[in-house]
């Protein structure tokens, strides 16, 4: 918040110094007593905190966590299908797009799935990751997302920061009507389960960067619309 500093010479009272000390003590004492006598509002969304009585702005981090804003790029996850397998088809586009070269993929073959290809190994070195989100942009199958809303959790060993496909595969499953295993059926999925998955499937987004394929709540189109309205064009 920019504000201008008043650089005029001190007036007589300020030159006397002592009255200004008393003013300062008054201000500090007011903060002290307000914060002492009134309870802190522990709302983790500290911007929304009621600070009319208690002025404490502290967030007690491990106990109270800030809710991350929509569009926040958190820890990666491999998006699962409803049957528990990864949506990933091991096309290597994310690994190719990654500027930090932190994604390592080994492809394998399904015997009984229309997708045929899947990652036997999918390893992300979270210490090397620069959290640019290019992998999410690059993915044609919406198989990798950064919508977990988590910070990289701390660890004592470097090895713990290398996430493999078992740790990455988590979160709510996603299906699209255009998915091959829904259109053509899959021998590995029981028919009634397949029907359930078809019923829940979403239409595939026409724009790759829209909210359906991206972090929930984040939409380039919506942002562009907002910017348009703001500038009045």
């Amino acid at each position: 918040m920019p504000y201008t500093v008043d650089n005029r010479p001190p007036d007589l009272r300020e030159q006397m110094y002592f009255p200004e000390i008393l003013q300062g003590l008054k201000l500090a004492a007011r903060h002290f007593f307000k914060n002492l006598f009134f309870a802190r509002d522990p709302n983790p969304d500290f911007i929304e905190r009621d600070r009319s009585l208690n002025w404490v702005a502290t967030l007690q981090y491990p106990e109270e966590k800030v809710v991350y804003p929509p569009g926040y790029r958190g820890l990666h996850r491999l998006v699962p299908r409803e049957d528990g397998k990864a949506r990933c088809v091991a096309c290597y586009m994310c690994a190719t797009a990654c500027p930090a070269q932190c994604i390592y993929i080994e492809a394998g073959e399904y015997a009984d799935d229309p997708v045929e290809k899947y990652p036997v190994k999918f390893v992300i070195d979270e210490m090397r990751c620069i959290v640019c989100g290019f992998c999410v942009e690059a993915c044609p199958k919406d198989a990798i997302r950064m919508d977990s809303g988590e910070h990289a959790p701390p660890s004592y060993e470097r090895a713990a920061q290398i996430w493999d496909e078992k740790r990455l595969l988590r979160g709510p499953p996603v299906s699209y009507q255009a998915d091959p295993w829904l259109r053509r059926g899959s021998p590995s999925i029981p028919p009634e389960k397949l029907e359930e998955m078809r019923a829940r499937a979403k239409p595939f987004p026409t724009v790759a960067t829209d909210e359906a394929s991206q972090t929930p709540g984040f939409s380039v189109r919506a942002l562009a619309q907002e910017a348009k309205e703001r500038t009045g064009q």
Partner: protein, 461 residues
């Protein structure tokens, strides 16, 4: 929180009563032994002195000093809109940060005691003791409670009943002179610590500490001369008694009323003697200067604790000399009539300790409000403002006492001075309105609190 304050008051009064009971009990035991010719004929006052050492020095001073080290963290946090130390949990409860006391003590005691190779060994080890001991000894002359006869504490008969018990370790005739003499010894500790460390930066800190303390001792001594003149005594206990009388209607002759200028000068000088911000030049953290930088473990702990002990002592001296000591001030006559002598004395001791607590709080408040001075400003403040002010104060006081020995004139002068100070402070100037408003918004208004909700909206101004 109101309950906590009432609890604090009750605890302080109970502490006072406990002090009287302990002193009286030991004095009674010693007196009986004296009458029977046992215990090498030690008089009963020795018993009272032993109890007072335990209660006043070990309980009041040490406990308040160590609690102050926690309070410094918590209170500064409250002043700065933070929460403060609360990570040590006892049964899931931070207990206001008080467990940090134990953690600190364990840390200080178990750390390695490191000694520079080229240090002057003897002086290096002596310095922390010299820094701590004189300050600790200062509390000996602080009159925490009024004198009582032993017969008023316990229902005893005979010559033992007339033994006088006071919550005061010693009452020498020299009084305030003892205070000046012992407090000036503390400078040896700091300057020796700086010199014996054989470190340029430590030496710089020691020299800074020495010059600052020697300068401020002058105004420290002169600022109390006015009270000596007004109360015609050097003994702190007699000063407190004299503050119970009044010369201006019902208002008692408090030191702060008769000597507001002396009070301010004494407060500033004594603050400089404690070497805490804004007078913390001897320990410049950014320029690694500090007389104790080569110390570690409990040797550093002693110097660290000495600061907090100094705060407690300074509060005690100000309470005794300027704030009426153990006079409860409000409802004093009623209390005196209704309560037994012991209960009244305990309430008085509680009032003394309560005033001490308020003053300690005020010192921490000052420490967290004012930025530190530049070195030349420190010396300029002492020699150009405080010293002439103290001298003028002495002459004015002496003239007023000479003209009107009933102290009425002095009291009127003091009241006029106080009114002048507060009028100038309260007068609305051009500066505080804008400057204060900006600081306010930047500090805590930007997050949509009700009272300051306009801040984000007008972010562009």
């Amino acid at each position: 929180m109101i309950i906590a304050l009432v609890g604090l008051a009750v605890a302080l009064i109970a502490l006072g009563a406990g002090g009287y009971l302990a002193a009286g009990g030991l004095a009674y035991a010693f007196g009986n032994a004296y009458l029977q010719g046992k215990w090498w004929g030690m008089p009963p006052s020795y018993g009272a002195a032993i109890a007072n050492v335990v209660v006043l020095l070990l309980v009041v001073v040490m406990v308040s000093a160590s609690l102050l080290s926690v309070a410094e963290r918590k209170w500064s946090a409250l002043i700065q809109d933070r929460i403060g130390a609360n990570r040590i949990l006892v049964g899931g409860n931070p207990l206001g940060g008080i467990p940090y006391l134990i953690a600190d003590a364990v840390k200080m005691l178990t750390k390695e005691r490191f000694q520079p190779d080229q240090a002057t060994k003897f002086l290096f080890n002596l310095a922390p003791v010299l820094a701590f001991a004189p300050i600790f000894a200062l509390f000996a002359i602080i009159p925490v409670g009024q004198p009582l006869d032993l017969g008023q504490i316990f229902a005893v008969q005979g010559p033992v009943a007339r033994v006088s018990i006071a919550l005061q370790l010693a009452n020498p005739d020299a009084g305030l002179l003892y205070l000046f003499a012992i407090s000036s010894l503390a400078v040896y500790g700091t300057s020796l610590a700086g010199w014996a460390s054989n470190n340029k930066l430590a030496l710089l800190g020691g020299v800074r500490a020495a010059s600052q303390m020697i300068s401020y001792e002058v105004s420290l001594g002169l600022s109390l001369v006015g009270t000596m003149l007004a109360y015609r005594t050097l003994r702190l206990e007699e000063m407190v008694v004299a503050q119970g009388y009044s010369s201006l209607g019902a208002i008692p002759n408090l030191g702060i009323l008769l000597q507001p200028v002396g009070f301010l000068i004494f407060f500033a000088s004594a603050f400089a003697e404690t070497k805490r911000a804004p007078f913390d030049l001897p320990e410049g953290e950014s320029e690694i200067v500090g007389y104790f930088i080569e110390y570690s473990g409990m040797q550093f702990g002693l110097m660290f604790l000495a600061e907090f002990v100094e705060i407690a002592i300074l509060s005690g001296v100000i309470t005794a000399v300027f704030l009426g000591g153990w006079h409860p001030i409000f409802f004093e006559e009623t209390l005196k009539l209704r309560l037994t002598p012991l209960a009244f004395a305990a309430v008085g001791a509680g009032a003394f300790l309560g005033k001490m607590v308020v003053l300690m709080w005020a010192q921490l408040l000052v420490r967290w409000v004012l930025p530190r001075f530049r070195y030349d400003q420190i010396q300029g403040l002492c020699w150009k403002i405080l010293l002439p002010g103290a001298l003028v104060n002495i002459f004015v006081t002496a003239a007023a006492v000479l003209l009107d020995p009933s102290l009425r004139l002095l009291a009127i002068i003091g009241v006029v001075e106080l009114i002048a100070i507060f009028t100038i402070t309260a007068a609305v100037g051009r500066a505080p309105a804008t400057a204060h408003g900006h600081g306010h918004d930047a500090a805590h208004g930007a997050h949509g609190a009700d009272a300051h909700g306009h801040a984000p909206a007008t972010a562009g101004h």
